[in-house]
């Protein structure tokens, strides 16, 4: 604020650009910018920068880099938490600890060299599914060791790498890829998966995954692909619910615009109610203007399905 209590024009512009205004303030600002050449020029000047460096342009975090960081962090946290199997064993009485440690080490060594199809207990048969170099063991702990009988129970998380050859028309492949979208497979892989699944979007597993991605994926590009696929299903209420939520809540204007356009093709009462809200509250000018125009065209809810 300036000495006379009025906010400096440049600060108003910043608040306008970065979503710091209420709907009423935004309307007032837009009118002022249209009437006041100085304020209008200031706004245009700032928009020129956004033309070179758009809002949301950020360093690329590729999937491989993300996974490397995840592995590195997991190792550091395990060390920090002292949850490694050997550290746990070290807390036990010395004799048991040493035998337990030897057993744990032998077990790990054993599964590392176990040939595929090696007969044995459940862990070995599970490992037979993957090649020797294709898995990592995480969070191994020795749950029980009976010194007298030599019986041992271990629990661990197994991350494996498996190659699947199939056809994209196979529902089993759909389900697998749809499930992968909920897991952490890196932005690039999620984008590829979404592109491949687009023709299969009508399947319930794929549609559920798209809804999940649209609501939860941190990457706006991935959400954008999901909203485009869901737009093709805009005649279904389940998809429309997700589109409405995206229009109301998604931080990214590109995603909201796609959701808006998909919903606008088939107006219903909840959508029109939402459009009434967005024509005032949305941070994107296109959405506000289009929503207002549709609402005015409808003249209320009388022509809504």
């Amino acid at each position: 604020m300036s000495a006379n209590g009025r906010e400096a024009p440049r600060h108003r512009v910043i608040r306008y650009l970065y979503g710091g205004m209420t709907a009423a303030e935004r309307g007032e600002f837009e009118r002022d910018a249209a009437d006041d050449p100085g304020l209008g020029a200031l706004l245009e000047d700032e928009r020129a920068l956004d033309g070179i460096l758009p809002r949301g342009a950020a360093p690329l975090i590729a999937g491989e880099r993300l996974r490397d960081n995840r592995r590195r962090l997991a190792r550091r946290l395990r060390r920090r938490a002292g949850r490694g199997p050997l550290e746990r064993l070290a807390e036990r009485p010395l004799g048991v600890a040493l035998q337990g440690a030897a057993l744990a080490a032998a077990f790990v060594l054993g599964v590392m060299v176990a040939a595929p199809g090696d007969p044995g207990g459940a862990p070995a048969s599970a490992l037979a599914l993957v090649g020797e170099d294709d898995y990592e063991i995480h969070e191994l702990s020795l749950d029980r060791y009976d010194e007298a009988t030599g019986e041992v129970e271990l629990s661990f998380a197994l991350a494996s790498r498996t190659r699947l050859a199939g056809n994209i028309a196979d529902p089993g492949v759909h389900r697998l890829m749809a499930a992968a979208l909920r897991d952490d497979i890196g932005s690039a892989a999620r984008l590829d998966t979404l592109a491949v699944l687009r023709p299969a979007a009508a399947g319930s597993a794929v549609q559920d995954a798209l809804v999940h991605v649209l609501a939860n994926d941190p990457n706006p590009g991935v959400r954008y692909q999901a909203v485009r696929s869901l737009a093709a299903l805009a005649d279904r209420e389940s998809a429309r619910g997700a589109l409405r939520r995206a229009l109301r809540e998604d931080a990214n204007p590109g995603v909201r615009i796609e959701a808006f356009n998909a919903l606008g093709g088939r107006l219903d009462a909840p959508t029109l109610t939402l459009f009434r809200e967005r024509m005032e509250a949305d941070g994107n000018e296109y959405i506000r203007n289009q929503a207002r125009s549709i609402v005015e065209e409808q003249g209320g809810a009388d022509r809504v399905m």
Partner: protein, 195 residues
């Protein structure tokens, strides 16, 4: 299978469950790495900052109270770690100035809505990296959080422990500096094309 709530994961992580902490962090890791990357010269530095910040957060987790949102708290740790490491890294970089050009890998910038498929061209990415170096810590914080990551001015103030007014000022100054540097680059590029 029921998904654990954030509250449950925080409680498990506070009790020392590292796996719970990883699950808690996972939805935010890409964004936090990008925040760290906004403060550094190279991807390797950003990765180190992210790692240090996460370990610091894990250690500090018992002190976390539900008064603030976990995401805000975590971003605050990333920003603080980035600032303290940045000063240390800047000193190291100055010492390495002689070989910097040969060994420096820079962050590549990507436009919103179109991740790997639409990288801003490498020349512009280089200019952005160069222009960001002109920003002070406060300007950089405001720019990375509000412009790159889409936080509101109020959220950025909460993360940085600052006020809305201070964020606005920093944001405006950051934009002024970037306009000068990137605008000059664009004008030069247009002229080169015309010739």
């Amino acid at each position: 299978m029921r998904r654990e709530t954030e509250q449950e994961l925080v409680a498990s992580a506070q009790a020392g469950d590292a796996a719970a902490f990883e699950r808690l962090v996972r939805p935010m890791e890409s964004r936090m790495l990008a925040v760290a990357a906004g403060f550094t010269h190279t991807p390797d530095d950003a990765d180190d900052i992210y790692q240090d910040a996460m370990v610091a957060a894990y250690r500090a987790l018992p002190k976390f109270k539900a008064e603030s949102r976990f995401g805000t708290w975590l971003h605050r740790i990333v920003v603080n770690t980035a600032l303290s490491n940045r000063r240390r890294l800047q000193r190291a970089w100055r010492k390495l100035a002689a070989v910097r050009e040969e060994c420096e890998r820079e962050e590549l910038y990507v436009a919103p809505d179109s991740p790997e498929s639409a990288l801003l061209n490498s020349e512009l990415s280089a200019r952005i990296n160069e222009a960001l170096k002109a920003l002070t810590d406060k300007e950089r914080m405001a720019f990375v959080l509000c412009h790159q990551q889409g936080f509101s001015i109020g959220e950025a103030a909460e993360i940085t422990g600052s006020t809305d007014g201070a964020v606005k000022v920093a944001l405006f100054r950051a934009r002024e500096k970037l306009k000068v540097r990137l605008g000059a680059w664009r004008r030069g590029r247009r002229e080169r094309r015309r010739r």
